[in-house]
């Protein structure tokens, strides 16, 4: 582990240690770059994780106050918790389920494939599948994704058995235990899955990939990483020439620090990335740093989501084992005959008793609710995740009056479903319900979207500077030595869980940054 002076102008500062930032920091260190990794949260470990949903939420989740607006139900049920992401070393890779799917070719060409859709701000990505394929390959190897690189799939748990049975009866073809960044047997210093059932609470066996115990220790072993937990970045600063010169952050003692930098990479998850850029406004950047396009914070995507639970007359014990190792991919293609554009995945999901109560039907009370809870042991569950339409008006903005403890405006997250999102969700609910009915469910329950874990698009990449914030490398159009390194760069969301693509882009970005550093262009 390295220690750099705050006055050291040669370092690459990476803000955020999750799938984007944690990966990027490691890749840069492996290639010889000095990296200061600033993380707002504390450092936990597999030993300190807890198998207790509320206690774990308190330990890992990002609970700083945010506000919400718009017609999405999250704004009503969880007005100050638009997203379920993490503030801890490893970021949301501590919480993620591990589903690791490549985007489909056409999903990088959403505008070309789907055509113009009213109200949607569709865009083709400025890169294509072929460019990413070798990096996807590296990412799958890094994460140890099952069903790639000759890695066996995970054995299906009880929840999967129900899911499989119903899906097959319904005629679905592609049903299996998924491509998961969870070891089916020990690999690369990480244990095999113990089927603990608390994937969302931090994997205590370390079988699930997380930057916390995979990439960050690797980076530390190079002697080039200076990881600073509990360091909350409030501003990115630039010099008169227009290049970023460093960042201002508050350390674990609440003391203001100023770290100089040669390059700054922002990977704070889409809400905080946009907020940090907007909060870094200056006379040169009056609308926020790197925001000459006006697109910073806009096109916020959260995926079309929803859940279906089926209640059976016999026990399922869905909480036993991997939380999300089960998938139907048949609906993930673009087939407008279904009445909507884009596609969705259906993935097994379970919640423990405490979170089932919190999320089954937020705000509900009475016998309709409790009779469903009474069936908890006999319940099977799935999550629906599909491509949502980017809309300019779905956006992260700075709150006009409310500030955090450092005096910086808090973010407001505005979201309205696009009619396409609504049509897709209705279809997905219908199919999910049909799966469980085919498996013999007595009752099915359609659960509204949870606070967002997939947060995308608020600093999207584009071919032209007027359409987005970053180029195809995640380098901002306005400031050459400022990069965005998380899901904020997604031009569109695809139907897949985003982490694998975030990691893939980060590996690729590390190549680009080291190349540019060696050419002295940064």
């Amino acid at each position: 582990m390295a220690t750099y002076e705050t006055s050291d102008e040669s370092v690459v500062v990476v803000i955020g240690s999750g799938a984007g930032g944690g990966t990027l920091a490691n890749e840069l260190c492996q290639k010889g770059a000095p990296v200061v990794l600033l993380e707002a949260g504390k450092r936990q470990s597999t030993a300190t994780y807890v198998n207790d949903e509320w206690a774990s939420f308190g330990q890992l989740a990002w609970t700083d106050k945010r506000t919400t607006s718009g017609t999405w139900r999250v704004a009503r049920d969880f007005p100050n918790l638009p997203a379920w992401t993490c503030k801890t070393v490893g970021g949301t890779t501590t919480h993620w389920a591990g589903a690791s799917l490549r985007f489909q070719r056409n999903e990088f060409r959403a505008l070309t494939t789907y055509g113009r859709i009213e109200g949607a701000n569709l865009l083709d990505w400025p890169l294509n599948y072929e460019e990413l394929a070798p990096y996807y390959d590296k990412a799958e190897d890094k994460l140890g994704v099952t069903r790639t690189h000759d890695i066996a799939g995970l054995p299906g748990n009880n929840n999967f058995k129900v899911f499989y049975s119903g899906a097959k009866k319904l005629g679905y073809r592609n049903v299996h235990t998924g491509r998961m960044a969870i070891n089916s047997k020990p690999r690369k210093g990480r244990l095999g899955c113990m089927q603990i059932g608390f994937c969302f609470q931090g994997c205590k066996s370390g079988a699930k990939w997380s930057t916390l115990y995979a990439d960050i220790p690797e980076a530390e072993a190079t002697g080039r990483l200076d990881l600073r937990p509990e360091s909350f970045v409030t501003r990115i600063e630039h010099d008169d020439a227009g290049k970023v010169s460093g960042v201002v952050y508050f350390d674990k003692d609440g003391k203001e620090q100023r770290q100089k930098a040669r390059v700054v990479c922002v990977a704070c998850n889409s809400i905080e990335t946009a907020r940090l850029l907007l909060n870094s406004q200056s006379p040169q950047h009056p609308n926020g740093l790197a925001n000459s396009s006006g697109q910073v914070g806009r096109n916020y995507q959260r995926h079309m989501t929803g859940s279906v639970y089926g209640i059976f007359d016999k026990p399922v014990h869905m909480w036993r084992g991997t939380t999300m190792a089960g998938i139907v991919t048949d609906e993930s293609g673009n087939n407008p005959k279904r009445g909507f554009t884009g596609g969705y995945e259906m993935e097994t999901l379970s919640l423990g008793l405490p979170f089932m109560a919190a999320f089954l039907n937020p705000g509900a009370w009475g016998r309709e609710f409790t009779s469903a809870m009474d069936g908890y042991a006999n319940m099977a569950g799935m999550w629906l995740v599909g491509e949502d339409m980017p809309q300019e008006t779905n956006r992260v903005t700075l709150h006009p009056t409310e500030k955090d403890r450092f005096g910086m405006p808090i973010p407001n997250v505005h979201f309205d479903d696009h009619p396409n999102d609504v049509a897709m969700r209705a279809h997905a609910y219908r199919q999910g319900k049909a799966i469980y009915e085919a498996a013999g469910a007595k009752r099915t329950i359609l659960t509204p979207p949870y606070p967002s874990t997939h947060n995308l698009g608020t600093a999207r990449m584009a071919a032209k500077a007027r359409d987005g914030v970053c180029n195809k490398w995640g380098q901002t159009f306005d400031v050459a030595n400022l990069f965005v390194s998380d899901g904020s760069v997604f031009a569109t969301g695809g139907s897949e869980n985003p982490t694998l693509t975030i990691v893939t882009l980060a590996i690729r970005q590390a190549d680009y940054i080291t190349d540019q550093l060696s050419k002295q262009t940064l």
């Binding site: 509320w54 206690a55 026990p315």
Partner: protein, 196 residues
């Protein structure tokens, strides 16, 4: 909104020692289902909850109110007492105490007399009349966390809680469902021998 729970989770029923200590109020109850899962956990069929801020009448009314909000007919009052315990803790804040005490008084008004003495149907009418009030929101919000996040509730619903300390479910039934056929191995590979 979601917030981390605060210390209301107790691994055992309120103890007799707590009962003897005496506070401003005490609720005493008895387990109804002597052979249920909770009885197995309980040291005694009698339980007591000592209150710090609320009096006994308020505590009992809140327990009954919680039963109307989240009715699980076969679930012991001892589990609902966890909600009262959480509310009592919050009532250390005078404004919360006022909200709860006045809320119970408004139940009495809505019921046209002593609410807790009315029939269950009439009690429920008064509960519904208060929907949308801050009192209702406070009790409901506390219920949905406290009622389902304690070992007694886990036992009632059959949820098994923490598993890593028992080696997860790898060799303890993660795939023991036997009322459906097993999926083929291409969809669901057999457990790797080198599993963990």
């Amino acid at each position: 909104m979601l917030r981390p729970k605060e210390g209301f989770m107790q691994p055992t029923l309120p103890s007799r020692r707590e009962f003897l200590k005496q506070g401003s109020g005490v609720i005493i109850g008895a387990l109804v289902f002597s052979s249920g899962p909770i009885a197995l956990l309980a040291p005694s069929k009698v339980w007591a909850l000592e209150l710090g801020a609320l009096d006994e009448a308020t505590g009992k009314a809140l327990l009954k109110f919680a039963r109307h909000l989240y009715p699980h007919d076969t679930m012991e009052d001892a589990v609902y007492a966890m909600v009262v315990k959480a509310l009592d803790k919050d009532a250390a804040d005078g404004s919360v105490k006022k909200l709860l005490v006045e809320g119970v008084a408004s139940l009495d008004r809505a019921a046209g007399g002593d609410w807790i003495a009315k029939s269950p149907d009439r009690q429920l009418v008064a509960v519904k009349a208060l929907e949308g009030t801050p009192f209702f929101a406070k009790v409901r919000g506390t219920c949905v966390v406290a009622l389902y996040d304690n070992p007694l509730a886990y036992a009632h619903f059959g949820y098994e809680g923490s598993s890593w300390d028992k080696g997860g479910y790898l060799h303890r039934g993660f795939n023991d469902l036997n009322w459906l056929p097993d999926p083929p191995t291409d969809a669901s590979p057999r457990l790797s021998r080198a599993g963990a």
